[in-house]
């Protein structure tokens, strides 16, 4: 009816003019998403509106590391890879968005006279899939080729047609105006190359978090007048403290190396009243390597006897700890020191984004709500130019690209650690975080496409794609944490200690069927909340009835319990 197209296909032109119509399309699309899983009996893949099938092959074997080989039908569309076996009860389904695929490889098959063929699919979401099929018929020949072309449109010249899943990074300028209008704050700008942006301001002390890229000091400690003047402005803006703390996310030694290349860090003598602190966090390459090791120990099987030392050897949780510790230091300087801080690393959109957004989560309870967290990602990550396309490698087949790194995943892991430590402080639940990660790779929504705001504007992302937040906000109930209590004005300091951190099993090890979480107590509480809502309604009805009966006492209504009780989130 609407003919709406998704995953970056252009929407029909009338939609652009009518925002109401667009909203309808979005809602409809979200409905389709929710219903998607319900389509049952057929072997064919359920399709989203606008999705088309590229190849189908029967009698394909999926070699599951947990239950052995399963045979079924494989469908490749321009959005996903879909495998289904209907003989089993319940049906076995494998539904993998192509965006998740990092690498597709043919496995060498020792010849037994057959034309059999194996494919190994390495995914970005911590699993590898192995498929095998006989290569007799023509149609099957196409599977591999189709998978490769559809999964990596960028590398296969499909960009010019429809599948624009991200373009090579061009140097982008940050859209600061958005931030300014968003925060309604004054702010000044220095030179083009070391852009600084104000991220957050303390409502009482006026202490601020400002983020920027490394100053261009260079090997001779060349002083940069603009930078110095700028920092002085930040300091002056905060009446309560005459100091400024500069947090450099990098390791001191690495910053020294950067100096030789023209970058570097602030020379404290040039910045009176400024204190420079190195947070000693490793770079994107170390993180990528750490995640690679993590995948090795969780997929497909776990060595239970050596589990802890294996986790230790990946260093993944140590890096999480360093990030949290850094963010706690930043938050503490703002909160207790009432001192403004400047945060930067080399470029200002990886570690810097992680640190500022974590510090803001600690300081400001707004960001711990669902809407607030969405705004935080939009602001600190998307607008500020975290290079999603480059770090994730959307649609690109160069799986060994050194620019890929799980920076955003690492950030969400830190957030998850915080939700574990403060189970009642966040409005969203674990599923919310997992859903964001799933769609970071799926490319179903426009939210994480491209590298910067400029590219997104050029590609008209906001009209051609649906935002992940529309999908999430259309079913908030699913993503709400029933334990949520609004800790307004409370600063949360997570404990950055390894004995308080744990591996996010429900994300990293979720493909292992043994790792399925038990039914958590959330369910019981949800039922309880439902009972409460029901009772509240009944009491309200009774009161209403009583009030209409005795008109004389109608003035008491202001104290009815429905007003004092906290709103119930379970109502749809």
């Amino acid at each position: 009816l609407y003919g709406h197209k998704i995953f970056c296909k252009p929407l029909g032109s009338p939609l652009k003019s009518s925002s109401e119509h667009y909203l309808l399309v979005v809602l409809d699309f979200c409905q389709a998403l929710r219903d998607g899983n319900k389509l049952a009996q057929m072997e064919e893949a359920p399709l989203f509106p606008g999705e088309s099938i590229k190849a189908i092959a029967k009698d394909v074997m999926y070699i599951c590391p947990f239950m052995g080989a399963v045979s079924g039908t494989l469908t490749v569309t321009d959005f996903k890879m879909y495998f289904k076996n209907v003989e089993r009860d319940p049906h076995f389904v494998l539904d993998v968005p192509l965006g998740v695929i990092s690498r597709v490889e043919k496995i060498g098959v020792q010849s037994h006279g057959d034309n059999s063929c194996g494919i190994e699919i390495v995914c970005k979401d911590m699993r590898n899939l192995r498929l095998a099929y006989k290569q007799e018929e023509q149609s099957r020949l196409e599977i591999f080729e189709n998978l490769v072309t559809q999964a990596f449109p960028l590398s296969n010249g499909l960009v010019s047609t429809e599948m624009r899943r991200g373009l090579p990074a061009s140097v982008c300028r940050l859209l600061e105006s958005w931030l300014i209008s968003h925060l309604n704050l004054r702010h000044s700008q220095t030179g083009e190359d070391s852009c600084s942006v104000l991220s957050w301001i303390h409502p009482e002390s006026q202490a601020t978090i400002t983020r920027c890229s490394q100053p261009l000091v260079g090997p001779n400690d060349k002083r940069c007048k603009e930078d110095e003047k700028y920092l002085q402005t930040i300091m002056d803006a905060n009446a309560q403290s005459h100091k400024l703390i500069i947090f450099d996310a990098r390791q001191n030694s690495v910053a020294d190396t950067n100096k030789a290349k023209g970058g570097g860090y602030e020379n404290e003598s040039a910045y009176p009243n400024a204190e420079l602190v190195f947070l000693e966090i490793h770079n994107i390459h170390v993180m990528r390597e750490s995640l690679r090791k993590l995948k090795e120990i969780v997929y497909p099987s776990i060595d239970e006897a050596r589990w802890l030392s294996n986790v230790d050897s990946t260093h993944w949780l140590e890096y999480i700890r360093m990030l949290l510790a850094g963010a706690v230091r930043i938050a503490d300087k703002i909160e207790s020191g009432k001192t403004s801080v400047v945060v930067h690393c080399s470029d200002g959109w990886d570690r810097t984004a992680q640190l500022t957004s974590l510090a803001m989560l600690m300081l400001d309870s707004y960001y711990r709500t669902i809407k607030g967290f969405e705004a935080l990602i939009e602001k600190e990550w998307i607008s500020f130019g975290h290079r999603f396309a480059m770090r994730v490698g959307h649609g690109d087949d160069d799986h060994a690209d050194a620019d890929r790194s799980p920076i955003f995943l690492q950030f969400l892991d830190c957030v998850w650690q915080m939700t574990k430590q403060f189970p009642a402080a966040f409005e969203f639940n674990e599923l919310f975080l997992i859903t964001i990660l799933d769609h970071l790779y799926s490319c179903l929504f426009g939210t994480f496409l491209y590298n910067c705001e400029q590219e997104r504007l050029k590609e008209e992302i906001s009209t051609k794609t649906v935002s992940l937040w529309s999908y999430i906000n259309s079913q908030l109930d699913e993503f709400a944490n029933p334990f949520y209590v609004n800790y307004e004005n409370h600063v949360l300091y997570p404990v950055a200690s390894l004995n308080h951190l744990e591996l996010w099993v429900n994300y990293y090890v979720r493909w292992n069927p043994r790792m399925r979480p038990q039914m958590p107590i959330h369910q019981n509480l949800k039922e309880l909340l439902a009972i409460r809502a029901e009772l509240q309604k009944k009491v309200e009805d009774l009161q209403h009835e009583a009030a209409t009966r005795s008109i004389s006492s109608s003035s008491d209504r202001g104290s009815s319990p429905s007003h004092s009780a906290t709103p119930v989130r379970t109502s749809v």
Binding site: F92, S309, P423, Y487, Y493, R532, Q536, S550, S553
Partner: protein, 700 residues
């Protein structure tokens, strides 16, 4: 306290607060009695600072003599273990407790005479061997006679009727009978007065070897299969005796291996589980991780946390016990087999495994009274040597092993994995573990029921001693006020429902759908064999080695055990049915409440499980008040009384260590790691690279 005698004291002692490594603290008096070591502060704490969850027996600054683990003295900044006769007296006393508290007492400002007296007094009374009769237990029982026998719902298993009822409840009474042959402990001093054996076993054979070699009934499953235990014969040098034992055992097996008894599977726990020495060694290493002197200590441990944890081997031992229990469950439930656990005295690992199996299979034992009855049945009456294993008398370190604590840790794993299935909370388990060291309850201070009974009535013929009666730990009102006892009960526990399975199923499925967006089915196929054949064929004919390797490695695991385990985990959980723990690496965790509760660095303000518990209690309370309002029907006249729950109000600033957060942190400043960064040996190369290859020279 009644029966308590002051032995020595010292004034102007400085109790150091661990925080920030500063020398802050409080001055006061350090005393040592025949019951405890206590610090009495000069400034009495202001009333509003009163801890909400208070133990009536053991105060914040009290250490029972049995709770003392190690005592160190500090001489010129050096820590030395204190024991025996002392020649030099330290300037600082550090006491490590068995409940993992650490106390620092600075003696620098105390008179030399007093230092000598208090230090040697404390060392003497807590560290030197003691006679059983000198236990505070007896002084207390004589001084404070409690004649009023409180009717408790906890079954003590000290009467024949208790055993009969248990047999009836589990429907084991068709094949097993209660024996009273051991009345007055004529048969064996290890066995309780009453015990249950297979009906077909002749009385004569039972009496033959003081109860050794006799299968003793623990519990019967709904399908009739039963769990039994047996004390093995000691290894004999003489061929003759061992031959006789063998013949005797063969006879016993023959009797109980034929109908009406199910097929028998025996399991010698001394060979299939770690030894007591291993358990003790692992726990000794493990607890060291939590006995933290100061903040630097904490962060130094933290850097290597996971590796250190693994090297203690404690969690691995917990896992092996749970795994063994699942194996036994599989035999009982899955294969309809009787299981006979064998151990030398059938009173250590037998207790752990048999009670775990019963907790997992019988929801009655997941209620508070049920659990307490289980401990009475398997541990107290089962003759677990609490006195020796806890080394309460300090007579022999060799016998010491935290077997009961191991059991509690295993139960904790189940509680944290399935909170709604248990009527009690982890706090209950924690205070139960603390009660091991409180010598006013008899529960954990004897090696066997025989030892207890002879010490109560045996020697003393005078009228006085026949009077006294020991307290049992199950009378929680002795330790806690009713409002504190609330924290021992799980608010989300739902009693066994009559009919609500349909509801549970639907919610479960909804939940499953949520958890992974790309759907993968987990239910294992009943036709696994078929698929395996298919796979084999497939490997041989079609695929290369790389794929076949993967299939083989996962196939090795498919024995009965894993199949049973996996298929159980695929089904929705029935909290009143069989419960199997997750035992993979990430499933087994550190019992943080017990082990981390005294460490200020480990404290989260506004976080931890207490935050969720508060929310639940809040909602329950609200529902209750709404319900009340509904009942009263005349809604407008009801005053808005929101009765606050005693202690959980205003939770946003409660610490995660609640209810144990006695070491209050004074500032709201965050704790920051002070440990230095570990070097990355192999990744140096990567670490030095830039995030991006932006050529900065161009832009300058």
């Amino acid at each position: 306290m009644r029966g308590e005698l002051l032995l020595c004291e010292a004034n102007t002692v400085l109790k150091c607060v661990q925080e920030d490594g500063s020398n802050r603290g409080a001055y006061g008096k350090l005393i040592c009695t025949n019951f405890k070591i206590a610090f009495l502060g000069d400034e009495s704490a202001s009333d509003d600072n009163e801890p909400e969850f208070k133990n009536k027996i053991i105060g914040e600054n009290d250490i029972t003599l049995h709770c003392v683990d190690h005592i160190y003295g500090v001489y010129d900044e050096k820590k030395k273990s204190l024991s025996g006769q002392l020649k030099k007296y330290p300037e600082k006393l550090i006491i490590y407790c068995k409940d993992l508290r650490v106390f620092h007492f600075c003696l620098r400002y105390t008179k030399e005479e007093e230092v000598k007296r208090i230090v040697s007094g404390i060392v003497h009374h807590s560290q030197t061997p003691k006679l059983l009769k000198r236990l505070f237990l007896f002084s207390y029982a004589i001084a404070a006679p409690t004649n009023t026998e409180t009717q408790s719902q906890t079954v003590m298993f000290d009467a024949i009727k208790d055993w009969r009822e248990e047999l009836e409840r589990t429907k084991g009474n068709m094949k097993y009978k209660v024996l009273s042959a051991n009345e007055a402990y004529k048969v064996s001093e290890k066995l309780p007065l009453y015990f249950v054996v297979p009906m077909s076993l002749s009385e004569e054979s039972i009496l033959q070897y003081q109860g050794r070699g006799i299968p003793i009934w623990c519990w019967s499953c709904h399908n009739g299969a039963s769990l039994l235990k047996m004390s093995a014969f000691p290894k004999e040098q003489e061929d003759n005796t061992s031959q006789m034992h063998k013949i005797f055992l063969d006879g016993v097996y023959k009797t109980i291996n034929k109908p009406p008894y199910e097929v028998l599977k025996t399991d010698d726990l001394s060979s299939s589980l770690p030894s007591l020495q291993d358990i003790q060694a692992a726990y000794t290493r493990f607890k060291q991780l939590f006995l933290i002197d100061n903040s630097t200590d904490f962060w130094d441990t933290d850097v290597k946390w996971f590796s250190l944890l693994e090297s203690t081997n404690w969690l691995e031992i917990v896992r092996r016990c749970l795994k063994k229990a699942i194996e036994v469950v599989e035999y009982l439930e899955g294969q309809n087999t009787n299981v006979l656990l064998i151990e030398e005295n059938a009173s250590d690992l037998c207790c752990v495994i048999s009670s775990l199996v019963q907790v997992m299979m019988d929801s009655h034992y997941r209620t508070k009274f049920g659990f307490q009855s289980l401990i009475q049945k398997e541990w107290v009456m089962g003759g677990h040597c609490f006195l020796d294993r806890c080394n309460h008398l300090r007579q022999s370190d060799k016998e010491e092993a935290p077997v009961f604590l191991l059991f509690l840790d295993c139960v904790w794993q189940l509680v944290q994995q399935y909170p709604p299935a248990f009527e009690f909370t982890e706090t209950y388990l924690t205070v139960l573990s603390d009660s091991l060291y409180i010598p006013i309850f008899s529960t954990f201070f004897f090696n066997s029921p025989h030892q207890k009974d002879t010490n109560v009535s045996g020697e003393g013929h005078n009228a006085q001693s026949s009077h006294f009666r020991f307290l049992t730990v199950w009378d929680w009102s002795v330790q806690f006020e009713p409002k504190a006892q609330v924290l021992l009960n799980n608010p989300l526990y739902v009693e066994k429902p009559k009919l609500d399975k349909s509801q549970r199923k639907t919610t479960r499925f909804k939940h499953q759908r949520q958890l992974s967006l790309p759907l993968t089915q987990t239910k294992s196929s009943p036709k696994r064999g078929f698929f395996r054949e298919e796979t084999d064929h497939f490997i041989k004919n079609i695929l290369g080695k790389r794929i076949s390797k993967l299939i083989n490695s996962s196939d090795e695991l498919h024995n009965n055990f894993t199949e049973f385990y996996d298929s159980w985990h695929c089904k929705p959980v029935d909290f009143h049915g069989l419960l199997l723990p997750h035992i993979e690496g990430p499933g087994i965790k550190v019992w943080a409440q017990r082990y981390l509760r005294w460490i200020p660095e480990a404290q989260l303000l506004g976080g931890g499980t207490v935050a969720t518990a508060t929310k639940i209690l809040d909602v329950i309370e609200e529902v209750q008040s709404l319900q009340k309002k509904m009942d009263e029907k005349h809604s407008l006249t009801v005053p808005q009384s929101r009765e606050a729950l005693p202690m959980l109000r205003n939770s946003a600033r409660l610490s995660s260590l609640f209810p144990f957060a006695l070491l209050q942190r004074h500032s709201l400043k965050p704790v920051l790691p002070t440990s230095t960064w570990k070097d990355l040996e192999d990744e140096d190369d990567l670490a030095k690279r830039d995030d991006e290859f932006v050529d900065l020279s161009e832009v300058i």
